[in-house]
Amino acid sequence: MSSTATETPSATLPVPPGTRLVEFRDAIREAMSGEMRRDKRVFLLGEEVGEYNGAYKVSRGMLEEFGPRRIIDTPISESGFAGLAIGAAMAGLRPICEFMSWSFSLVAADPILNNAPKMLYMSGGQFGCPIVFRGNDGAGGQLGSTHSGCVEGLYSNVPGMKIAIPSDPYDAKGLMVTAIRDDDPVFFLESERMLGNKGPVPEEQYSIPFGKAIVRREGTDCTIWSWGRPVHFALEAAEALAKEGISCEVIDGRTIRPLDTETLFRSVRKTNALVVVDQSWPFASPGAEVAAQVAHRCFDDLDHPPLRVHSDDVPTPYASNLEQEYLPNARKICEAVRTATYRA
């Protein structure tokens, strides 16, 4: 069963009574468990995913249901177990490889960037890598400089893989189902900050196509493009800006690669202004890519150049006040939108 963008309940719509509400973490698990029931080739490996039920409890109960042959606790050897998962994928299995945090995937950068996404190409089409790498991405929990990476800023430069980054439980489930069924490597970015968020999620398995953005709020004055957690900051900003008489169209890209430029350009051609909100560092980021592409393809439609809101271009600080200021937030988005719409 597949769902189109328009069927998706938007984060801002009121939830009808009796709707099944599910936590973000549980939505991910429903997708994984559902696929594991359907396809024995699917298995989950990573640190503490089994007996401990997952560092963030995403895989809670899965060991019990699927046993230790399919829910595999690994040692702290990201390079080793990511490589193991890639080998298994080459041989036809469909691993879900959890990084407790994507920040830790840096020790596995070689297998996940220089190996999995190139395998099909350098083998001349012989060996694909149907694998999902997933885990917590991004800052916000005061985890400090080494644990707060937004790897999309680094990794999205690499061809040969796809990057999904859901902003709500519904998308988390639907995109994860798509990720697991996809024949290519998928990087699936979760935000630990959102794992407790609840939202309507159908019980059955459904898939959301990659490369199809969703309009979270319609508007006419400025397009705000985002992915993942900052979509909520964008909606918060749009709400505030509405009171000032600025109408924002908030779009959730859902995947970074592929990038839904069709929806992006269509919206910008309507609003004539763009603010892109990207939680990664600014330099050479997905946000820069969106701004550059819009500048290129919508040049004559723009009343103001595309603006970008990012995390600040510094390592992530620990102190809460610094970290909150470091992150993209509604205040910064409002400032950017006012500038973009000449209401500053």
Partner: protein, 391 residues
């Protein structure tokens, strides 16, 4: 045409059962038989033993207050306390010279305090205040103290082990290549048992072996990495020294619950490394009494196991040792208790009162050459690398 067959011990160590339900695999009770301390132990001056006891009590009290402050949300992020392992940091660092470099993992408050950081600087760091050792920018996992030659506190498991090799390389290079004298310093590199599974550690050991680096890798083997009992994550868990032997290192197993034992053994290990400029590997047996971090219900081990380790409490053991020898009058112990309580209470009060790190700090310390003040804009104002310039 020799065929050297080395079959693993019949119950292949650390190999998971190929199928079936996973029974909780506990690391079990402490295997140590309480061996009598060697006579050298009696030669340690009493005030030295007292200072160790006081430091261990300080760490214990500090960590308990950390847990409390974490509940009160004064401390954020991840916070890993050192309760149960105090004898390791204290015994090892007491065996070190002041200018010997030290580097460790994220469970680092004990090392910081034992190395000389004030409880105030350590606590204020976790409170995210300007008076923290890293101005509140590092947090619990990143305790750095240049004056005390503490090179962090590192959050990525195993990442500090090549740094340890590098610190040893640097001191040796400074002495032998720059100053033209014999190497004089030894680096201690602490890591958890879980970090043994990171490839970087094996690379670090190999490099240390090849380059004759005076570094001692101390595996604080508390039996668990998060919820993973060591034999579930590490082959040869019953003889961890095999990992060091595979790199030609001097290897030792040391009971890390007895500070006197740690100090005696580590003094020799360190002085041998200093004299020979050869790396060493220590399997330091210890136990973490609390959860991995603040959110760990410890379901992966039994209450019986935890209780069996209670009697090993390093603080209690030293107290008993001193009492048995008549070296710890009731008023001395009480004084220590009230002193450390006061010291930690003051550290908390100090940290509460210390100003929040100002937002201007957000843009400092990115480069040695400062990048100019925080401009309050979200636009990428750092990208030009110039002093606060906005094009």
């Amino acid at each position: 045409m020799a065929m050297a067959t080395t079959p693993p011990p019949s119950s292949s160590p650390g190999s998971n059962p190929p199928s079936g339900p996973t029974a909780p695999l506990a690391i079990g009770a402490p295997s140590r038989k309480a061996a009598p301390l060697p006579s050298e132990a009696l030669e340690i001056p009493t005030d030295r033993l007292h200072s160790w006891l006081r430091m261990m009590m300080l760490i214990r009290e500090f960590e308990l207050r950390c847990m409390q402050a974490y509940q009160e949300k004064k401390i954020g992020g991840f916070c890993h306390v050192y309760i149960g392992q105090e004898a390791v940091a204290v015994g090892c660092l007491e065996a070190l010279r002041k200018d010997d470099p030290v580097v460790t993992a994220y469970r680092d408050h004990g090392h910081a305090l034992a190395r000389g950081m004030t409880a105030k600087a350590c606590m204020a760091e976790m409170f995210g205040r300007i008076d923290g050792c890293a101005k509140g920018k590092g947090g619990s996992m990143h305790m750095f103290d240049k004056a005390n030659h503490l090179y962090g506190g590192h959050g990525i498991v195993g990442a500090q082990t090549p740094l340890a090799a590098g610190l040893a390389f640097a001191t040796k290079y400074e002495d032998e290549v720059i100053a033209g004298r014999k190497n004089s310093r030894v680096t201690l590199g602490f890591l958890g048992d879980g970090a043994v599974n990171q490839g970087a550690f094996h690379e670090a050991m190999n490099l240390a072996g090849l380059l004759d680096l005076p570094v001692v890798f101390i595996v604080e083997n508390n039996g668990y990495s998060m919820g993973t009992a060591i034999h579930r994550g590490t082959t040869m868990a019953h003889r961890l020294v095999a990992k060091g032997e595979a790199n030609g290192l001097d290897c030792y197993e040391i009971d890390g619950m007895d500070v006197i034992n740690v100090w005696l053994k580590m003094s020799k290990v360190i002085e041998k490394a200093r004299a020979t400029s050869r790396p060493a590997f220590v399997d330091m047996k210890t136990y973490r009494y609390k959860g991995h971090s603040m959110s760990d219900p410890r379901k992966y081990r039994t209450r019986e196991e935890e209780e069996a380790w209670d009697s090993e409490d390093p603080v209690g053991r030293l107290q008993k040792h001193l009492k048995d020898r008549g070296l710890l009058p009731g008023e001395t112990l009480e004084r220590f208790e009230s002193e450390v309580r006061a010291e930690v209470r003051e550290a908390v009060a100090f940290s509460d009162a210390s100003p929040l790190t100002p937002l201007s700090e957000l843009y400092h310390d990115v480069f040695v050459e400062r990048m100019g003040p925080y401009t309050g804009t979200s636009l990428p104002n750092m990208l030009t690398g110039k002093q606060g310039v906005q094009p």
